[in-house]
């Protein structure tokens, strides 16, 4: 299974090629081929995952496929870019995430794209071929052990995103201001491309840093880069600021792909694509690739770069959540929620990178949130797809032009009759199948439910994303918030990060439940005869929903629903995806004393932002590491621990001690508080009062509401200050090209023509004129002289004699 890991991406690739060439002639018009390919991938991924999970100690497994680029002849052992895969904890988890969600989406799409029905999409095969291509690219991205290959796959997923967003490319809206799928596709591609530019510069710069540290042959393999960067930092060949810059440059790629502020604008518009695509690409996998990338470059991130990342992520989390508050399109809300959640992950990873001690465990919590989020966010999207599918169907039936995605047209899709209590909403609703047997009230609600399966699954996912205990989102989000709070408590000047985190958590709970209430509860806002046509989606769609909903429960990630407070175990994820050794911390310290371990080193060099007051905690951690690390105290404690990544984690666990624990408890309490207060407020405003307070608030602060509704006017800003100036610049440069450069060239030609005309005139009238004048003179003389030519020999003889005589005279005169 391990050795043939390349099959996992290869089969979707083959499926892509087959469907592209064979198209509609394949079984299921190609869809079955794609499903089979990804199904095999899921199976193999699961087997690899369990292999990793069950093995006590897992060393990364490498599979080299072929040399992509090799510079410097065959003499170099490792090519510049090698297509090679690695299986470590992270990639094995990601494999499962990607193949699972992808598989479910493949299946779900059969229903959503109306396979076999009269509503079947006209480019059904193409849809599946693109899905296959995406799966291939995403799997390569996940598996690659080479930054350049990551970049290549990174671009390819961008292409797939483009193709899939623009799947319904002929779609036009009556409102010209509303973005069409094809425009959204371009926007997505270009916006993410902006980030990719940073990525590519970062890669090139990384190369030059490695070259400085290792003048021999440089390549992009992750382990090599980490070791070389570490060597370079230790020897002083790499300046820490340069490494920080490289980290930030590469992170720009993540900003684009993961839709972080300020490049977030594409993701909500990407919702123009089919909903399964939104679920797969724009919620679970591709957008998470940015987070994954940060995880992959984590070893070479410096604390300063980490801070940059943390602030970007934290701000995005809050910022996107604020926009989500006011959106009415169900997919837009989810999109902003995605942006916000990705911000969380980025925040977490950034905090992890900013914290040299590793106590915040930002790395693991961020990536864990990536995993959990993939499940429930995919579920949410698929649910919304199910809703939209039903709405579309219903509206289509009555020939209504109303927007099937607008939540203002929904309502009552679960329970048109009324509202349940707050506690019921949260805890009793899951029990409703049982309760409905005993209570007529529940009975009625149950039997009249329009879309029960969709509702239930969506509720589970919403609860998960809101950070309610017993669900996966709680565990991961609590870990993030705990880590952030921990970091903030140790670095009070960065308390803002914690504010971002908790603020976003509160807002998330609020707007997610707003979505639930607006969609499933209250009086139906659809026309009555349309509402009758709302049906639950087919089994092929609801089964994937259920699977994803089930996976949103806590038990799959950590048996301890508090995320470690009870069992003191952080679950398998933290164990199997240990934080990697941080090469970015090993800057050379001239002043550091030999006995001052890694904390001291990092405090003095890597973390100029950290206050000296942090020394104590650093020391404690360093000692913890020193005791667990294999080589005892060294000047470069962290780096010297080498491969003992696990040691760091266990070291933290023991070093956490009282302060870490208490902070964690505090974070847990706080996150519970914000989550429940958000839910409560949402229920009171939207569940009980039908959105009236919100409207009142909007009237009270119209400017705020206006900004939220218009996403802080970022699109308008970009259109006015980037897109239009860009087009203007293009026009100006082209005019310059034609008007100046080409004019100059043509002018040269024209001047040459002028000169030649002038010379032609000279030629005609002067040079040729002279020649003509000669001829003319000759003619005149000839006219005169021909009279002499009488034809009589003797007259000629007279002339001859005359001239001879004259000649003789001349001769005489000359002497």
């Amino acid at each position: 299974m391990l050795r043939t890991v390349y099959l996992i991406p290869l089969l979707p690739l083959l499926s892509f090629v087959l469907i592209t060439l064979g198209g509609r002639r394949l079984p299921g018009k190609g869809s079955f081929v794609a499903i089979a390919a990804i199904g095999w991938g899921l199976f193999q991924s699961l087997s690899i995952f369990f292999q990793v999970l069950l093995s006590p100690e897992w060393h990364p497994y490498h599979v080299d496929l072929y040399d992509f680029l090799r510079v410097g002849g065959g003499g170099n052992a490792v090519p510049l870019v090698q297509i090679a895969f690695q299986i470590d904890g992270l990639s094995s988890v990601m494999l499962v995430v990607v193949t699972l969600v992808s598989f479910l989406v493949h299946v779900y799409s059969l229903g959503y794209m109306g396979y076999g029905t009269h509503e079947e999409d006209q480019r059904f095969s193409r849809f599946y071929s693109n899905l296959s291509l995406f799966s291939f690219s995403m799997l390569v991205l996940v598996l690659a052990d080479n930054y350049a290959v990551v970049f290549m796959a990174w671009e390819l997923v961008g292409l797939c995103s483009y193709l899939l967003i623009g799947h319904w490319f002929e779609k036009d809206y009556p409102d010209p201001r509303q973005i069409t799928p094809r425009q959204a596709a371009i926007k997505a591609f270009l916006t993410t491309k902006v980030g990719d530019l940073g990525f590519v510069i970062g890669l090139a710069w990384l190369y030059s840093l490695c070259q400085a540290a290792d003048p021999g042959h440089v390549h992009f393999n992750m382990d090599y880069v980490r070791e070389t960067v570490q060597k370079g930092l230790e020897s002083g060949a790499i300046a820490p600021w340069a490494l920080t810059a490289v980290g930030i440059c590469i992170f720009f790629g993540a900003i684009g792909k993961s839709a972080q502020w300020p490049l977030h604008t594409w993701l909500p518009d990407a919702m123009e694509g089919p909903t399964p695509v939104s679920a797969l690409i724009h919620a679970a996998t591709m957008v998470a690739a940015g987070v994954y990338l940060v995880g992959r470059i984590f070893p070479i991130l410096t604390p300063d770069a980490g801070l940059f990342i943390a602030y970007t992520g934290g701000f995005t989390a809050l910022f996107a959540a604020s926009i989500a508050l006011a959106q009415n399109d169900i997919k837009k809300v989810l999109a902003y929620s995605t942006v916000s959640q990705l911000g969380y992950m980025i925040l977490s990873l950034g905090v992890g990178a900013a914290d040299p001690t590793g106590q915040t465990r930002g790395y693991q919590s961020g990536l864990m949130h990536l995993t959990t989020h993939a499940m429930f966010k995919a579920c949410l999207f698929l649910c919304s797809g199910s809703v939209i599918h039903a709405m579309h169907h219903a509206l289509h039936h009555v020939h209504s032009e109303r927007d099937p995605q607008d939540m203002r047209n929904m309502g009552g899709l679960f329970s048109p009759t009324g509202l349940f209590g707050f506690l019921e909403t949260l805890f009793l609703l899951p029990l409703m199948p049982i309760l409905s047997r005993f209570s007529p009230r529940y009975q009625e609600a149950w039997s009249s439910a329009k879309m029960p399966a969709t509702f239930w699954t969506m509720l589970v996912a919403t609860v998960a994303i809101s950070g309610v205990p017993l669900f996966s989102g709680f565990i991961s989000k609590d870990a993030i918030l705990g880590g952030t709070l921990h970091f903030a408590s140790e670095h009070p000047e960065h308390a803002l990060l914690a504010v971002f985190g908790f603020g976003a958590a509160a807002l998330t709970a609020f707007y997610m439940f707003r979505l639930i209430f607006m969609t499933f509860f209250g009086a139906p806002r659809l026309p009555e005869h349309a509402f009758e046509h709302v049906h639950e989606s087919p089994r092929v769609m609801t089964v994937p929903l259920s699977i994803l909903a089930v996976l949103s429960f806590w038990i799959f990630f950590n048996p301890d629903p508090t995320g470690g407070l009870i069992t003191h175990s952080h679950g398998w994820f933290f164990e199997k995806v240990p934080a990697p050794a941080r090469a970015g911390l090993s800057a050379r310290t001239e002043t550091a004393k030999p006995d001052a371990a890694a904390a001291e080193a990092s405090r003095a060099q890597g973390l100029s932002l950290l206050p000296a007051a942090q020394a104590e905690a650093g020391h404690a951690d360093a000692e913890g590491q020193a005791s667990t690390g294999p080589s005892g105290p060294t000047p470069h404690g962290v780096s010297a621990s080498g491969h003992a990544e696990g040691a760091a984690a266990s070291g933290h666990a023991s070093a956490h001690g009282d302060s870490g624990h208490s902070i964690h408890v505090l974070a847990l309490v706080l996150s519970l508080m914000v989550a429940f207060s958000g839910i409560a407020l949402s229920r009171s405003w939207y569940g009980v009062q039908g959105g009236v307070p919100a409207a009142a608030l909007a009237q009270r602060w119209p400017w705020l509401y206006d900004r939220l509704l218009h996403k802080w006017y970022f699109d308008e800003f970009y259109r006015a200050w980037v897109v239009r100036p860009g087009l203007h610049l293009a026009r100006i440069l082209y005019d310059f090209d034609m008007g100046v450069v080409d004019l100059f060239v043509n002018g040269c030609g024209a001047v040459a023509v002028l000169i030649s005309q002038f010379k032609g005139a000279v030629d005609t009238y002067i040079v040729d004129g002279l020649v003509d004048a000669v001829g003319f003179t000759v003619k005149v003389f000839g006219d005169v002289l021909r009279r002499l030519q009488t034809g009589i020999v003797q007259s000629y003889l007279v002339y001859i004699t005359l001239l001879t005589a004259l000649g003789v005279i001349l001769f005489e005169l000359m002497g």
Binding site: L69, E155, R182, L197, A204, W205, G726, A730, D742
Partner: protein, 542 residues
């Protein structure tokens, strides 16, 4: 060691074919087409055999070129023997018919053969003066082959000029509405540059060798390269810029590029293909074959200028392309953009950058060739190329749209397609220039700025795709036929190469890499000579 004369066969098979065409009666258009296709195909086959015969295991130091005809050039041989490599053509001036290939020219020869075949197939729909058309096509191919295989500067120059004439007629007779103007502009502009090249060639000839000591002047490019250390900096400066003019116009480098959009727009489809895919490569090839090895000091000195020009080409070309509404013009400006990457890669003087430049040339050949081919296809059907005049074609012509999208994606540097490899290597090289250049920061800054070009390239290609293929189908083109068999046959090889070179670039790079390495080593060795002998490369300029 006398091999089968692959190179001569490759060069003169088209000539023979052209002469053969003259024997076919004018009315027999079908026969003429078949014969032309046969001869280009034959050339392609021979070039494939040449590719196979090229021995990668040979040490490039001892065998700088292979497949030489007549007497091979041996760097270690005594003067007289070395100087008479090839077979004498004009002995009085030491001009030899000296042809050979190294990793630099071999891929380009292959590209030429492929592109010519595609171009001939693509021009089967020419109805006007068929015989003359294919005659010129074959002659053009011969010229191109000759340029890439010549190792004698004089021979190089002859072939260089030989190409001009058929090109002139091909644009001027079979072109668009402004064909005469375009043809004359192309011809004069190129000729303007080649005059300077001629001067540089003669200067090199008379500065080379030591007739007093019995070492004659020479046009032998390898020998000139060997004597590169003997040319003093001031001389190198002058010759460098003279050559620069000749090559820069061909590349084309800003601000010498304005003939290109015009020529492309006016030229018939097949000629556009050849123009973009092969002729533009000659400028870069000239730099790498002549300027760089023979004038290492000047090369070192002016790498930064090339860098800045490359940057301008990339960004400026991209922005200009953005402003186009004519598809051909858009692709033409994108060519300027892509040649900018080559310049960036070359300027770095690093093995990665040079590899990138060569690869970018190849990639651009495949990609832009197919772009022009496909634009020509739609022009044949719709009789216009206005981007805004289409709309929604993706529904109607999926095969066409797919191939076009593939080419566009390759052109904007999507990984897995050949454009990416070249761009990536060029940028990587330019970001990490050779140490002898010294001004690392300048290179980093300009390379970093050049990536804007990638973004804009993506922008205009996607915008074009959107306006042409996406959206509601324009009812005017509801009956537009998809690619027919002939067009598919022409387009598929390029598409296959696009993907193949993108997925397995090593099969091409392994040929180029030794040549780039050798070139870098050569330049570095000469640069070091200067620095160790106390002379500062820069000081004499100040």
């Amino acid at each position: 060691m006398v091999n089968f004369p692959y190179l001569s066969f490759m060069t003169f098979t088209p000539v023979f074919g052209a002469l053969f065409l003259l024997l076919i009666p004018k009315e027999n258009a079908r026969g003429i087409r078949t014969a032309a296709a046969f001869f280009t195909l034959l050339t392609l086959v021979i070039s494939l055999f040449a590719w196979r015969a090229y021995d990668l295991t040979l040490d490039p130091a001892a065998h700088p070129v292979q497949l030489v005809e007549g007497k091979a050039y041996d760097p270690q041989a005594p003067d007289a023997e070395r100087l008479s490599a090839g077979s004498a053509w004009i002995p009085a001036f030491h001009i030899y018919y000296f042809v050979g290939v190294d990793g630099l020219s071999l891929p380009l020869l292959l590209l030429t053969a492929l592109i010519s075949t595609v171009a001939v197939i693509a021009s089967f729909n020419i109805e006007n003066r068929v015989k003359e058309y294919f005659f010129f096509m074959l002659l053009l191919e011969a010229g191109m082959m000759g340029v890439f295989s010549a190792l004698d500067f004089f021979l190089f120059y002859v072939f260089w000029e030989v190409m001009l004439v058929p090109m002139y007629f091909l644009i001027g007779v079979w072109g668009g509405p402004k064909k005469e103007f375009a043809a004359i502009k192309f011809f004069l502009y190129t000729l303007f540059g080649s005059v300077f090249m001629l001067v540089a060639m003669l200067a090199l000839y008379f500065w080379s060798g030591h007739p007093d000591r019995g070492i004659p002047h020479t046009f032998n490019l390898l020998e000139l390269k060997r004597q590169a250390g003997g040319f003093n900096p001031a001389f190198q400066l002058v010759v460098y810029w003279a050559l620069f003019l000749g090559f820069a116009i061909k590349v084309p480098i800003f601000p010498f590029h304005t003939w290109l959009p015009l020529a492309h727009v006016e030229a018939p489809t097949a000629v556009s293909i050849i123009l973009a895919a092969v002729l533009l490569k000659m400028g870069v090839y000239g730099f790498l074959r002549i300027s760089f090895p023979i004038l290492p000091l000047a090369t070192q000195q002016y790498a930064t200028v090339l860098l800045v020009l490359g940057f301008i080409n990339v960004v400026y070309g991209a922005f200009c392309a953005m402003a186009q509404s004519d598809m051909k013009k858009l692709v033409a400006y994108s060519s300027i953009n892509h040649m900018g990457y080559c310049l960036l890669g070359m300027a770095s003087l690093s093995a990665i950058g040079l590899n990138g430049a060569i690869f970018e040339m190849l990639g651009h050949g495949f990609v832009t060739g197919s772009l022009f081919l496909l634009v020509g296809v739609v022009y044949d059907r719709a009789h216009h190329r206005d981007i805004d005049g289409f709309g929604g074609l993706g529904v109607r012509v999926p095969k066409y749209a797919g191939l076009m999208t593939l080419a566009c994606m390759a052109s904007l540097g999507l990984p897995g397609l050949c454009g990416f490899v070249g761009e990536f290597l060029c940028l990587l090289g330019a970001f990490n220039p050779n140490r002898i250049l010294g001004n690392d920061a300048t290179f980093k800054v300009f390379t970093a700025l050049s990536v804007i070009g990638i973004l804009v390239t993506a922008g205009f290609f996607l915008w074009m795709i959107q306006r042409v293929f996406l959206g509601k189908l324009n009812p005017k083109y509801a009956e537009l036929p998809d690619l027919d068999g002939r067009e598919t046959v022409a387009a598929i090889p390029l598409a296959v190469m696009t993907v193949l070179a993108g997925v397995f670039p090593w099969f091409l790079l392994k040929v180029m890499d030794p040549a780039s390495q050798a070139l870098v080593t050569h330049i570095v060795s000469h640069a070091q000579q200067v620095s160790t002998s106390g002379g500062d490369v820069v000081s004499w300029l100040r």
